[in-house]
């Protein structure tokens, strides 16, 4: 038990468990209605991997169906914009599937007719080298859906001879440091890699006590467990919406082995990025 400043009494959480728990369990028995509701919710939150053209589900996981040597995953709108302008613009990419999922963060309640402008995960492979894959994920994958996503994409026994690169963003106020956040040169890039990743890294590694969250953390943990070489490039920024300077902070990655050979025309890509920014500007009058 602990008292706080305002006089409210707050019960301190106890890891040993409390005596109350046993009494609660005896009183709860699952009714058929409870089961029905639980199953309905599970069906609603199911992660489905579909072939976009035929709208049929993929029977096996994506990387079991297609051999993969390189997999680049962009999570979040700034990372997605970076790959769209610099990587997808420099080659011919063919869509192989998309992951459809619904959770409380989705803006729509209709889980069946998600339009093409709705955010979800799309998977592409390079036509000239079909073992190179790319994933553009601009939706939020909830904690209970991350495992399903990993299973549907990687499968239950993934191959080890592929390299995974993940790009994502995080707000700079999440970055724990002894300096004040005002003095940080945001946006800045940090990296976190699995034990099997041996290539040189183009930016400093993420220091303790900072941690990675959400889908990028799930993918990285999965790769560490299965001994797959993987690296996460995390951009800390103070502008979470689509922003040119944040996207350009990913540029050092263009020179690494992960993206080697996939990027051709950088000036043209920069122009494309600027166009993407202007078409996506959200009007808000709160801040001037």
């Amino acid at each position: 038990m602990a008292a706080t400043f305002f006089g409210e009494v707050v019960k301190a959480p106890c890891r040993a468990g409390t005596e109350d728990e046993e009494e609660e369990d005896e009183g709860r028995r699952e009714t058929p209605e409870d089961r029905e509701v639980r199953q309905q919710l599970a069906r609603k939150r199911e992660v489905r991997l579909l072939r976009r053209q035929t709208k049929t589900s993929l029977e096996v996981s994506l990387l079991e169906k297609y051999p993969c040597s390189k997999f680049i995953i962009a999570i979040g709108n700034n990372a997605v914009a970076f790959l769209s302008s610099f990587v997808m613009n420099s080659g011919v990419w063919e869509e192989v599937g998309c992951a459809k999922l619904w959770n409380e963060w989705c803006r729509t309640t209709d889980t069946i007719h998600l339009s093409s402008t709705e955010a979800f995960c799309v998977f592409y492979h390079l036509k000239s080298n079909p073992s190179v894959f790319l994933c553009q994920c601009s939706c939020y994958v909830a904690e209970d859906q991350q495992y399903q996503w990993l299973e549907k994409v990687f499968g239950s026994c993934p191959r080890k001879n592929m390299q995974i690169t993940i790009l994502t963003c995080r707000h700079v106020t999440d970055y724990k440091t002894s300096e004040s956040t005002g003095s940080l040169p945001s946006p800045f890039l940090k990296a976190l890699k699995t034990q099997n990743f041996k290539d040189p890294v183009c930016c400093p590694l993420l220091e303790q006590p900072n941690i990675v969250h959400d889908l990028p953390a799930a993918v990285l943990s999965y790769c560490q467990v299965w001994k797959i070489p993987a690296i996460l490039y995390l951009c800390y920024t103070d502008v979470m919406k689509l922003d040119l300077i944040t996207v350009e902070a990913f540029k050092p990655i263009l020179s690494t082995r992960s993206l080697k050979g996939l990027v051709k025309n950088i000036p043209q890509s920069t122009e494309l990025l600027k166009k993407l920014m202007t078409t996506n500007e959200i009007q808000s009058n709160i801040y001037t």
Binding site: T4, F5, T173, G182, S183, P185, S186, D238, V239, L244, I245, K274, M277, T278, E281, Q283, N285, I286, Y287, T288
Partner: protein
């Protein structure tokens, strides 16, 4: 720890932070960039124009506002908070003129705004103003001034400063490029402001708004054409500098 001490403004955290004030400074970073430069005979305010919706009247979206004939300010942060602060400052400027029969000094009105902001960090039930302001002008003695205030109520005089999104990048640029030569002439000071903004503005000269005050003259807002002229001049100089560099290396 932060979650227990950031709900009421009047509470210090055990390590001495006023979290609401620090969060207000984050709100400032959501506004677009504003830069202020104090020249020898001119003060310049440059801002990144917010993109205006199609049906919106552009004249009502202003980041640079006159407080009196000889003082003006640019802000970054919450629009509504800025409106309240500007109104209070404008009333104070006129009240001062009527009471003391003298126009306000730039330092006086800055102190007034800063005191107002500080009051809101020490009252119960109120939150701080989520804006930082750059206040420029000339005093009666003819000396140019530039002051900056922030949500905590502090104010300082600056030779050149930036507030809002990417302020750090712009400030670093100014630290490297603010020299006595760079501000020697009015034109050079204006170009320095534009160059600093071009570092972070997303679509070039079209999105820059500029205002200057020259000694004994009223505030002048630059038209889009005038800004474009300066931008093309800067781009030409850049090209020439690059040509010289490539000639030297050859």
């Amino acid at each position: 720890m932060a979650s227990r001490y950031d709900r009421a403004i009047t509470v210090f955290s055990p390590d001495g932070h006023l979290f609401q004030v620090e969060y207000a400074q984050e709100a400032v970073k959501k506004g677009s960039t504003a830069v202020g430069i104090r020249g020898a005979n001119i003060v310049v305010l440059g801002v990144e124009k917010k993109s205006v919706a199609k049906l919106q009247d552009e004249r009502t979206v202003r980041k640079i506002c006159a407080l009196d004939d000889h003082v003006c300010m640019a802000f970054a942060g919450l629009t509504a908070d800025a409106r309240v602060v500007i109104n209070r400052a404008r009333v104070e400027c006129q009240s001062h003129r009527l009471t003391v029969e003298d126009p306000v000094t730039v330092e006086y009105i800055t102190r007034f705004i800063a005191t107002l902001k500080q009051k809101y960090t020490q009252s119960n039930g109120r939150r701080p103003f989520g804006i930082s302001a750059l206040i420029v002008g000339f005093d009666d003695d003819g000396i140019p001034r530039l002051y900056q205030t922030d949500p905590s109520g502090t104010y300082h005089a600056w030779k050149a400063n930036a507030i809002g999104r990417s302020a750090k990048t712009v400030r670093e640029f100014l630290e490297k490029n603010y020299t006595e030569d760079a501000i020697a002439s009015d034109n050079e000071a204006i170009k320095l402001a534009i160059k600093a903004l071009l570092e972070v503005v997303q679509s070039g000269g079209k999105n820059i708004e500029l205002a200057v005050i020259r000694r004994n003259q009223a505030l002048k807002m630059f038209s889009a054409k005038e800004v474009e002229l300066h931008v093309t001049e800067i781009e030409k100089e850049k090209e020439e500098a690059e040509k010289k560099k490539s000639k030297k290396s050859v």
